[in-house]
């Protein structure tokens, strides 16, 4: 784990790190010139077929070519992808956090706060001087301004003293501000440590032993060359497996570079023969992941059919009085549930003839970026291709989100978001992704725990990095839209791991894990929040300061409370129902579409903030 202190981060020369990365890139280019010369001057020149024609000459040319290939592969895998890209990514990440520190530390100092505690979890506390100033009724001007009181002229200014004692909470205000700075500092350092650890992991996972070279020419050459070629193929497979299993230490950008460095035949073979190493991997282009995931989905459904048949056969041989009978029944039920949910998902994204289906209203194809039946189940489905889209909006559902919803209500919301985005910006392509990529809490009690968001944070970070890595052309305008606990998921990932997103949108948030927009690692102007006036969630900010609050520091947009209580004595009905009304097409109690919420969201997602109200 990184032990970087905030002072080390502040003083780090990120330019030097970047320059080092540039040097490695330059080195790679120079070395590639050497292999090019080897091919043109030697293989196709002095040793060409025109000058030397024999079996030995053919072997020599082949061996030199393979040596050049090996050299280029190593340059690509290590010098470029591993070292140079790692240094560039680290420099970018450190510099972004350094910029935050340059803004934050002077604020902390100006307000007479102290940074204390270990680098793993800094505290921002009131300094002794500030304590004394408040206790002696001589608060600093900034604190008086925040509390809306006149700075006391002296100890005997009784009117002011009375105001200070009765009307304001100087300590509470100062501690509140210190708390916001503390959230901000912790978030900065968390992301910096994450970047430091990622860089260390990428470099650590470089193979310790040098790659094998082609066999030496001689009597044994013919015997060994086959094994060598097999070993080269196996290296690709081993690397693909390590990437998929998360042990390669490579970032999505590095994965993308690795993928682009493969031959078409290698890529096709991986998709066809090992879809499990392609489908779930951020950094591999969407088209390939979709193809692989559809194969995995078919295989998984077939596998569940086989398992169900086997269990049913076992059940048929088991007497109903046997305790094992009810166990088998429960197992069959669970398997059948998984099978039905996966089949429903397949039906939503696949045509009758097995080809990928498109969402008819916008004409955009569905892409499957991942699925899982573990826990409540997960699925990542995109309406439109995020690699080619101008805008990408990833919808992160909250409590109760599961695999069943990914082919039901959650996907319906995703489709409506896609439709609304197209209506808002007809000339642009907006891909709308249902990111049900974490194990969401099942109920309100579970939703008071931040662990679900913490456990999903690295995956959401990786998802955003993957979107950036696979983008064709200019990077898309990427928005993460969280709903309810989904906002906690987005905020926690942004603050602790960092998300590579342009906009964060928090709808009906119970808190996002930090008390200030500054801690989220994106420009505060691009942080948006909305909670309608009736939503119950405003009474339950269990995960920190509600992002709609003014002191959170982000933007807000209007959403209607479209639902009402069924009867006067069921006064809580409206607040509960309005927590889910943000994409309403209308409901029975008040059948009006949530025009403000839907259009405002679509404006933000498509970069038309001037229309937001």
């Amino acid at each position: 784990m990184s032990e970087m202190t905030w002072q080390q981060l502040r003083d780090l020369d990120c330019g030097a790190v970047r320059t080092l990365g540039d040097s490695w890139k330059t080195h790679v280019d120079a070395m590639l010139d050497q292999t090019e010369r080897l091919r043109s001057d030697v293989i196709d020149g002095h040793l060409s077929v025109e000058h030397y024609e024999s079996n030995t000459a053919t072997q020599v040319r082949e061996q030199i070519a393979m040596t050049a290939d090996r050299f280029e592969d190593d340059l690509s895998d290590y010098a470029s992808t591993r070292i140079a890209t790692t240094l560039h990514e680290a420099a970018d990440a450190f510099e972004a956090e350094q910029d935050e520190l340059k803004e934050l530390v002077p604020l902390i100092e100006q307000h007479d706060f102290d940074i204390e505690g270990p680098q793993s979890e800094y505290d921002v506390n009131l300094s002794g001087g500030l304590h004394q100033a408040i206790l002696t009724l001589d608060p600093p001007q900034w604190l008086c301004d925040m509390c809306g009181v006149k700075k006391p002229d002296g100890f005997w200014d009784w009117d002011t003293v009375k105001v200070l004692f009765n009307g304001v909470d100087l300590y509470g205000t100062a501690i509140g501000l210190a708390g916001q700075y503390q959230d901000w500092l912790r978030a900065v350092m968390s992301r910096a440590h994450d970047a430091d650890d990622d860089a260390a992991a990428a470099l650590k996972e470089m193979r310790e032993n040098p790659s094998e070279l082609p066999p030496q020419l001689g009597a044994t050459y013919d015997d060994l060359i086959g094994d060598y070629k097999d070993a080269v193929s196996q290296e690709v497979a081993d690397e693909a497996r390590a990437i998929a299993e998360g042990t390669s230490g490579m970032s999505p950008e590095q994965v993308n570079q690795w993928w682009e460095g493969l031959s078409d035949a290698e890529r096709d073979a991986l998709v066809a023969e090992h879809p499990e190493w392609v489908g779930p991997v951020d950094g591999i282009p969407t088209e390939s992941r979709d193809t692989a995931n559809r194969t995995l989905l078919d295989d998984r459904i077939d596998g569940l059919d086989t398992q169900i048949a086997a269990k049913e056969a076992e059940l048929a041989q088991t007497p109903p009085t046997d305790p094992q009978y009810s166990i088998l029944e429960a197992e069959i039920h669970d398997l059948q549930t998984d099978r039905d949910e996966l089949s429903d998902l397949q039906g939503e994204i696949t045509n009758e003839d097995g080809s990928p289906k498109s969402y008819s209203e916008t004409g955009q194809q569905y892409y499957l970026l991942g699925f899982d039946t573990e826990g409540s189940g997960q699925a990542i489905v995109s309406v439109g291709n995020p690699d080619t889209a101008d805008n990408v909006n990833a919808y992160v559902p909250g409590t109760g989100g599961d695999l069943a919803g990914a082919s039901g209500g959650l996907l319906d919301r995703t489709r409506t978001m896609a439709f609304d985005a197209q209506n808002a910006a007809p000339g642009e392509e907006t891909a709308t992704v249902l990111w049900m990529g974490y194990d969401a809490p099942d109920d309100l009690i579970e939703a008071t725990d931040s662990k679900w968001a913490e456990e999903g944070s690295a995956d959401l970070e990786s998802f955003t990095q993957g979107i950036r890595a696979t983008a064709e052309g200019d990077p898309s305008n990427l928005t993460l839209t969280g709903h309810s606990y989904g906002t906690t998921m987005v905020g926690t990932a942004a603050a602790t791991e960092g998300v590579d997103a342009d906009n964060l949108m928090f709808v009906a948030s119970p808190g996002v894990g930090v008390d200030t927009a500054s801690a989220l690692g994106v420009n505060e102007d691009n942080v948006w929040a909305s909670t309608n006036e009736s939503d119950m969630i405003q009474y339950a900010p269990v995960h920190g300061n509600a992002p709609v609050n003014e002191d959170f520091g982000g933007n807000t947009f209007t959403s209607d409370a479209t639902r009402e209580s069924g009867s006067w004595w069921q006064f809580w009905d409206g607040p509960v129902e309005n927590h889910s009304s943000y994409w309403d097409t209308g409901n029975e109690e008040h059948p009006v579409a949530n025009t403000t919420s839907r259009t405002n969201q679509s404006y933000i997602v498509t970069g038309q903030e001037d229309l937001v109200r």
């Binding site: 409506t416 209506n423 900010p541 069924g566 097409t585 059948p591 579409a593 259009t599």
Partner: protein, 214 residues
């Protein structure tokens, strides 16, 4: 931190007052009975669309019609026994840019729906750097809502509210209005009719497909 203490107390209050126990015990009823089932709702919704179009002069015709659904939630949890339908009509991008469609039709529909005794629930306008968007929403006595949405595209969206879900086979094909050819490329309801859209139906009055669109 004070903020944390305050929020924790608020959370406890919420869970005690409206968290699972009280809300589940007292409001566990079914949603209010709706006038229509899903299968029954499409016909009056399509009629509502046709009625709206009938009042629009020199109508250029819609480009597409679709049927969408959204989840209905109860006690904050999506209830898969209910669905909210949205019948969506949309103009082409070229027609969506005309003053007639973006401005004049809003005034016409406002008058038409007010005269019909519908409640005007939303009537707003937002001016951006490049265009002015508008939303006009009216609600009928039977609970069906009509949203004339002026954005990049302009559309008429008819909402059912939450209605009990019907089996796929129970849903009958209702031909589109406003110039969309039944079963044609702009009639985007094939999800509901996997065996093919019945094309023997005539388009709903008042308009047949405009010239060159059929």
């Amino acid at each position: 931190m004070k903020a944390r203490l305050r929020t924790a107390a608020a959370a406890a209050a919420l869970l005690a007052a409206s968290g699972c126990s009280v809300v589940d015990d007292l409001s566990g009823d079914e949603p209010p009975e709706s006038e229509y089932t899903q299968a029954e709702a499409y016909a009056p919704m399509e009629e509502a669309a046709a009625d709206a179009v009938a009042g629009l002069g020199d109508f250029p015709g819609f480009e597409q019609r679709s049927w969408a659904e959204m989840p209905c939630s109860h006690d904050g949890v999506d209830d898969d026994e209910y669905t909210a339908i949205e019948v969506r009509y949309r103009f082409s991008i070229a027609d969506s840019a005309t003053e007639q469609v973006r401005d004049q039709y809003v005034a016409t529909l406002r008058e038409h729906w007010t005269d019909a005794g519908y409640e005007i629930a939303t009537d707003d306008e937002v001016e951006g750097a490049e265009r002015t968007d508008r939303n006009l929403v009216a609600v009928r006595h039977d609970g069906i809502s009509l949203w004339y949405a002026v954005g990049g595209y302009v559309g008429l969206y008819i909402g059912s509210g939450c209605v009990p879900v019907s089996e796929a086979g129970e849903i009958e094909y209702i031909p589109p209005t406003g110039g969309v050819e039944p079963g044609g490329p702009g009639d985007l309801v094939e999800e509901y009719f996997p065996d093919g859209i019945p094309t023997t139906h005539e388009a709903l009055a008042p308009l047949n497909p405009p010239e060159g669109r059929a």
